[in-house]
């Protein structure tokens, strides 16, 4: 039972996309082994994708019985993908692109600074302070205590950690 009274902006398009995607996946599943045997490697992929196609058809069919979304594309960018969300998506994608090359410390710091600054809509100083604090805590907790490997990038962290250890060892 669907409790949503009217369609949301972009809902029909999304559901149709899922239907088309499901049909494509069914075709790909068919290509694995066709209808050669019930125990073939393609049997469950075909069954799963067929279920997706059938349920997507039901979803789309039910969709048309509900009142249309009002406001068109404009409503989509207000209710579903507002400016804030689009900018944040862009920032995450950018973060993922440069993460390995530039390294965790610089990308993490920049990502947190820009996103907090943008979301808080206050001065850059508090955003910078919070970003720095968070990166330090995450770095110490995950990299130094839990020994999780984080992308090093352009800052030679291992050398720095090694020389700090060496320095402390020397001090003893």
């Amino acid at each position: 039972m669907d409790t949503t009274p009217a369609r949301k902006p972009g809902e029909t398009g999304f559901n149709i996309l899922l239907l088309l995607g499901s049909i494509f996946l069914f075709y790909q599943a068919y290509k694995i082994a066709g209808f050669s045997a019930l125990s073939s490697p393609g049997a469950i992929p075909m069954a799963a994708s067929a279920t997706m196609v059938i349920s997507a058809c039901i979803i789309v069919a039910k969709e048309f019985s509900r009142p249309k979304a009002e406001g068109g594309a404009k409503a989509f960018f207000v209710q579903i993908l507002p400016f804030t969300l689009a900018v944040m998506c862009g920032l995450i994608i950018l973060f993922a692109v440069v993460l390995q090359k530039v390294g965790f410390i610089l990308t993490g710091l920049s990502f947190l600074f820009f996103s907090i600054w943008f979301l808080q809509k206050r001065g850059p100083a508090s955003a910078a302070l919070i970003a720095l604090l968070c990166v330090v805590v995450i770095y110490v907790l995950f990299r130094l205590i839990f020994q999780v490997i984080l992308p090093e990038g352009i800052i030679p962290e291992r050398d720095i950690i090694a020389s700090v250890k060496h320095w402390f060892a020397g001090a003893k």
């Binding site: 049997a43 998506c89 947190l112 968070c134 995450i138």
Partner: protein, 510 residues
């Protein structure tokens, strides 16, 4: 017996495990309480950070987060009328009206007490029932596993109040995603499109973090400026009279919660809603009407959702079938650590079972301690601005996903599924079935092929087998009923017989 006790007390006697359980429970309460942070999200992000740990340490931390998180949602439900987690939706219905009357402390105290009772009840049933279920499960035929897995996927869709078609779609998508890569039996390529990266499949953890971490964080961007509500907190420890009065209801709802939790695919959220419904029907003359601050309205869902934790571990440890989305993620973590949950786990590694039982018991004790203390500081932390919280979650998601295989490809998958997950969530698809489908995919694939090969590729033979075995028949009829219960004929029939319509509260909309 002494060995069992030794395994049971392992977490209690080793300071490191004790500390991790305490930290996990404490963190769980806060994660569960902060709207937008879910336990599933936290546990899935944690897998990536703990995969290099000793397995016991990772399991101790996750059990703590799970138990604490299920309880934590009630705090914000009572204080702010915002359920921190879907399992606390029902708690808000009467918890917030109580808080508005200045009884927030009392409501929190009562919810902590009954959550603890519910938690212990679920664990007790887990300890008693799981060994029997596991012994019984050894006799399961491949077709029974197949039917059980399909039943689990359907249950999520039908009981959670959302659209059945969307639930089925999500479950099938999960199953399909689980088949990507080389077929484990024949090494045939499935959905690899010629890319070597896809030969090993898509990282399940990347999909989990994307669907639960990134998509939830994106969804929460809509609620950046939600104003905080200030609360008065006075008496916290509930009166003995109150506890005694509500104990029978608490125990009934604990039993209900354990049962719902033990059904594959259903967890604390559904248990809490059903318990609330039960309390409403069974309480003849509440002191205060339901919806206006009835204490029964807090007791029922809170006892049930924590009892469901122990319940959810039963199918997970005995059959390898997760009881809900969190246990689906924990199964993923167990695979990462080289464990294979299922009937043989209880025979080959009994220490894991008793360790888990001891662990959950300890987490429940910590939940009570932390639940009764630090509430004033709690209200401050919960009001942390989302403008800071959400970027930190996104950062942790990306870093956590990268850390599993040091692979940027995993990060791309995570982001892709995060964005698709956001749209799915926005348009009313549930994400739980995707993860359940993903985890159950291998089980469904293997058991389908075993079942059909043992019948010489004959569908008629398979059906004969189903019809002649009482267990298979029962599971098959349950599946048929679940599908039938979504039809208009059933709605009409129910209205005619019971003369009422169900009130649906959709957990996906919170």
């Amino acid at each position: 017996m002494p060995e069992t006790l030794q395994y049971f007390l392992m977490t209690w006697t080793q300071p490191q495990l004790l500390f991790l359980t305490a930290i996990g429970t404490f963190a769980g309460i806060y994660i569960g309480a902060i709207p937008g942070l879910s336990v599933t999200m936290a546990v899935s992000i944690l897998i990536s950070f703990t995969f290099s740990w000793e397995m016991n340490n990772a399991l101790a931390l996750m059990a703590g987060i799970y138990m604490g998180g299920v309880y934590g949602g009630s705090r914000t439900a009572i204080l702010l009328n915002i359920p921190g987690a879907p399992a606390a939706i029902a708690t808000a219905l009467d918890g917030y009206p109580l808080a508005k009357k200045g009884l927030a402390g009392e409501a929190i105290g009562l919810s902590t007490t009954v959550s603890t009772i519910g938690g212990f009840f679920g664990i007790l049933i887990l300890a008693i029932a799981a060994p029997f279920v596991s012994e019984f499960a050894i006799r399961f035929q491949p077709r029974d596993y197949l039917l059980l897995a399909v039943m689990g996927l359907l249950l999520v869709g039908s009981l959670s109040g959302g659209s059945m078609a969307k639930g089925v779609f999500a479950g099938a998508l999960g199953v399909l995603l689980g088949t990507v890569g080389l077929d484990p039996l024949t090494a045939e390529e499935r959905f690899t499109f010629g890319y070597t990266d896809l030969m090993t499949g898509i990282s399940a953890v990347a999909i989990m973090i994307g669907m639960f971490g990134v998509s939830e964080a994106l969804d929460q961007m809509h609620y950046l400026n939600m104003p905080g509500v200030k609360q008065r907190l006075e008496r916290i420890v509930p009166s003995w009279k109150d506890v005694k009065k509500h104990l029978p209801l608490g125990l009934r709802c604990s039993a209900l919660g354990t049962f719902i939790g033990a059904l594959p695919g259903t967890g604390g959220d559904i248990a809490a809603l059903m318990a609330y419904d039960h309390a409403k029907r069974s309480t003849k003359n509440p002191e205060v009407p339901f919806g206006e601050g009835a204490k029964e309205g807090i007791v029922a869902p809170e006892a049930a959702n924590n009892a469901a934790v122990g319940g959810a571990y039963i199918p997970m440890l005995t059959l390898g079938i997760p009881g809900d989305a969190v246990t689906a993620v924990i199964v993923g973590a167990m695979f990462v650590h080289g464990l294979n949950p299922g009937p043989l786990l209880m025979i080959e590694r009994p220490e894991i079972f008793w360790f888990t039982v001891g662990n959950l018991t300890l987490a429940t004790i910590f939940m009570f301690i932390f639940g009764m203390t630090g509430i004033k500081i709690f209200t401050k932390i919960v009001e942390w601005p989302k403008a800071v919280l959400l970027p930190v979650i996104l950062l942790l998601s990306i870093v956590g996903c990268y850390a599993i295989n040091n692979s940027v490809t995993d990060v791309w998958w995570m982001l892709g599924f995060g964005i698709v997950g956001y749209f799915m969530k926005t348009y009313g698809y549930q994400l739980g079935p995707v993860i359940l489908g993903l985890i159950l995919s291998r089980l469904i694939d293997d058991n389908w092929r075993r079942a059909i090969i043992s019948e010489q590729e004959s569908l008629v033979g398979l059906f004969k087998g189903i019809l002649t075995s009482p267990l298979s028949l029962f599971l098959f009829l349950t599946i048929v009923f679940l599908l039938f219960s979504q039809t208009k004929t059933w709605t009409k029939l129910k209205a005619r017989v019971f003369g009422r319509k169900d009130v649906n509260i959709d957990p996906t909309q919170v």
